[in-house]
Structure formats: C-alpha cells, structure tokens
C-alpha cells in the first residue's frame, strides 16, 4: 500500500490572489446589491422600459396590507419580507430590493455603496490582471487548468463520480479533475471578465471612449442585466465551491490554500 504523501499544491501567487479575490468579490457583491437597491429593476436594450422589466422588486398595496412583489419575466411572486418590502411587527414598512442584511452599507446609502464598489472594482481588476499574467507566464493556466483531450473524453465518468461524492485519491488527486479545470477556467476566463466588461458598459464615460461595448453587450440596460446574472453565477459557483471544500476534506483544502501543502491519501488498492 502507498503511503500518505504531502505535496505542494498551490503556489504563493495562486494563494494570494485567491484570498484577495474572495474578499474583493464579497465586498463587490454586497456593495453591488446596495447599488441595485437604488432601482431594483432590470431591463433589456439601451433604455429602461419601465413597464416591461426582466426582473423587478417592488412594494404594492393589497387592500390594507403592503406586499413585496418580485416580478421575473412577467411572472409575479409574493416575496414580502425578503424582496420588495420589509414590514415591521408594528406595521411599519420600508420599500427596498434586497434585505439590508446583505448590502454594504447595511442601510440605504447609494453614495457610500458606490465608493466601496468602485474602489474594490479597481482591486478586482488589478488582482485579476496579476493572476492572469502570472498564470500565463508560469504555465499554471496550461499545466494545471487546461484539460487534456483524454480528460475531456472521460468527462462522463467524472461527472458520475462527482455526483456520488467520490473524490480521487493517490496519483489522480495530485491534479485538478476535468470538472474542476473546466469550472475554474469558466470562472476565471468568462464569468469574472464578463463582470468587468458589463460593469464598464454601464459607465457613460467608457461608452463614449469605447462605443463598441454597447453593441457587444446589447445596450447599457442589457449590460446591467447581464452584470446581475453573472454575479448570480458567481454566487452559485462560490456556494458549490464551499460545499465541495467542506465535503472533500475541509482542513486539507484550507491548509493547501493557506500554506500550499496538501495531503494525498493513498489510493485504494484494486482487487
């Protein structure tokens, strides 16, 4: 039987940019929801068609009571207390989109939300650029994240193993599996750059400097909608990522992202 082995899994650059990115994305998400709450409606095209939102959160009067209503693609849902309106026990109510518990600041303050958002947007860009340049130059992108043709062919069994929460051991555990590779590539090369691109398209200054942004993303309001959807994608990714970290050996995973060292459990001997 093989022995337990300790490998050096994550380089200093990956560890540093990973944790900076985690903090930056948390601040961007929460300050982004503060900004969203200033006008909790999303549209398609260049302008806001106020009567035809893709998504809208609003408070509506229903007899004597105030209800929070969330509209998605023409369908209405009662979301009182969560989205659209918050009602106090004494009958007071406040209109808003997302709950103040998930926004930064925790009360209505668009000006401060924007200050947090744009400062951390710069941090996001600089950190992301540093990661991408380093990943290309060091071969991290090619060596650790690009799946081989062989791996892509065996994606079916890999999905099946993941679904049964069986994680590789031994030699196989020394590298990312094909699903991890594809997911990380999608997040790093598609989802996060899309956040930046759609964010820039919302800027009237950037639109004047680079008008093709408007054509590329279907107009400023479409860009804002994609910004929201891509952010939701990142939230879903982080949720799944955290679950995977928890169930595939939380201490080993955390240690490897802090010190770089990762323990490889011996593979079970095949009968």
């Amino acid at each position: 039987m093989e022995k337990r082995e300790v490998i050096y899994r994550h380089s200093g650059a990956v560890r540093l940019t990973h944790w900076v990115n985690a903090l930056v994305l948390l601040v961007l998400l929460m300050s982004g929801l503060q900004i969203f709450n200033a006008h909790p409606g999303l549209y398609l095209g260049s302008k806001s068609n106020f009567n035809d939102p893709v998504l809208a959160m609003a408070a509506t009067q229903d007899g004597d009571t105030i209800k929070g209503v969330t509209m998605v693609l023409g369908h209405s849902f009662d979301t009182t207390g969560v989205f659209g309106v918050v009602v106090d026990p004494d009958g007071g109510f406040e209109e808003r989109g997302f709950p103040w518990s998930v926004t930064l600041p925790g009360h209505r303050d668009l000006a401060t939300g924007r200050r947090w958002h744009f400062f951390f947007a710069w941090a996001f860009v600089l950190n992301g650029l540093a990661y991408l340049i380093w990943s290309l130059a060091s071969g991290h992108l090619r060596r650790d994240l690009t799946p081989s043709g062989q791996e892509l062919k065996h994606i079916g069994p890999s999905i099946w193993e993941h679904a049964r929460l069986k994680f590789p051991k031994g030699e196989e555990a020394k590298r990312y599996n094909v699903l991890q590779k594809l997911t990380y590539l999608f997040v790093a090369l598609v989802l996060l750059p899309l956040m930046l691109l759609t964010g820039l398209t919302m800027s009237p200054g950037m639109d004047a400097a680079f008008p093709f942004l408007l054509d590329l993303l279907g107009g400023r309001q479409t860009a804002r909608t994609i910004h929201f959807i891509a952010a939701s994608g990142i939230v879903i990714f982080v949720a799944v990522h955290l679950v995977m970290v928890l169930i595939s050996g939380v201490w080993n995973n955390l240690r490897s992202m802090i010190t770089g060292r990762y323990v490889i459990e011996p593979a079970e001997e095949k009968p």
Binding site: A38, K47, A111, R115, A209
Partner: protein
Amino acid sequence: MSGERRLDRRGFITRGLAAASTALLGGCDDLSDQPWVRRVLDSAETLTRVTQRALLSPTALAREYSEADISPWFKPNGSTDPDDPDYKAHAEKGFADWKLVVGGLVESPLELSLAELRAMPSRTQITRHDCVEGWSCIGKWKGVPLKGLLDAARLKPDARYIVFYCADALGQTGTEADKYYESIGLPDAFHPQTILAYEMNDQVLPVPHGAPLRLRLERQLGYKMAKYVMRIEAVDQIAGIRGGRGGFWEDLGYEWYAGI
C-alpha cells in the same frame, strides 16, 4: 462517534463563519464612517477620473440614438416643480422676462433672455440619460452649446471650473445650502455635446425636466446635468463654494467625476 464529531466540527465552522460575517458586516458599516477609510475609498474616484480622461479623447462623443429609440416616458427625477417664488413667477409668464446670468472669471459678463439663447447657434442630440440609480431613458435635446456661451463671455486665464446655480432646492435645512448646484471642468464644458437645453423631444423644455434651461453632459451621470439653471459662474476652484465638493450631491458623498 466520528460522525457526531464531524457534525460538531461542521457546526463549529458554520457558527464561526456566521459570527465572522456578522462582525465583518457590522465592521464594514463602522468602517464606512471612518474618515481615513473614506479617504482610501474616495481615492478610487481620482484613479477612475484620470484613467477615463486618458482613454477619452476630448471630442469623443456619447452615442447618439434615432428618433425611434426615444423613451415614450422620460422619468423626471430629483426636483420636478421648484418651490422658489421667483422661479414660480417666471414659470407663470413662460420665462418671458427671465435671464440667464453668466459671470465670474469672464471678460464680459452676459445676461441672456430665452429668445437670445434661442437665436444663438444650437445643437440637437438624441442621447441616453443614465441615472446614478441605474435606469436609463433616451431623449432628444436642443440647446446652446456651452462653448458658444463661454466663447462669448471670454473666460479669464485662471478659470478652471464652470459652476451652475439652480432654482430648485433638494435639501431640508431651509437655507441657501439646500439649493441645487453643480460644477464641471473645462474639458467637459467645451465638449461639443455639452449644451444648455431649452427643448426636449421637440417641445419647450417642460418644468419637470428643468425649464427654462438644463445642462446636458452626455458622458456623465444624470445628477451632473443641473436643471433650472439660473446662473453660470466661471471659477478657479470649487473648494470655497457651499459644501466645497462641487455639487449638491457631491457634498453628500457622491463622486464629482460621474463618468462611471
């Protein structure tokens, strides 16, 4: 046994994360109020302004749209019916004897009636209005290029900013500080699309949208585009004016450079 231990451990992690995030959230709110944090966060505005100015050529235009793109309903925001008695009196007479005052660091101060402004060379543009809240509306604007006015008034060499004083008040203090005002730099003041609009969608500019005259500054956000403009002043610095940050919303923490 080991299952129970794992659960405990998981519970510990969950509680730990919850506690940490609560501390973080509360901490961030406290942080927002710290002057040094504010200064650090505000530094991003300078970075954004310098970067956008470097990327934006002085004549790069904001996109202009077609008649078909015009919003059927253009959302009026901020003040929609100023309370000021002088303003109300002028509005009742259709601004017939109202005059725009142009002064400050200029060689020849001006006082211009609406008729005189309308007689000057004009520019018409169909542009997108982006509110800081996130929504956009498209409207057609006709007005005098600000460059035309400033050329006529002849700026003194030390003029750096153009300040717009407005008839409407958004504040609640009951003093002059409640009144709306805005300021822009010279690159924006001389931009071809920077106009003082007196018409919107082929009609006389309506009161909710800033009659008799509103600024259009198409490469920045809506709050920069002062409505109900009564007086224009060329100055060398904005620090001494009202809150010192160059505008009503700026004094409340919003960016002076609103290109993002």
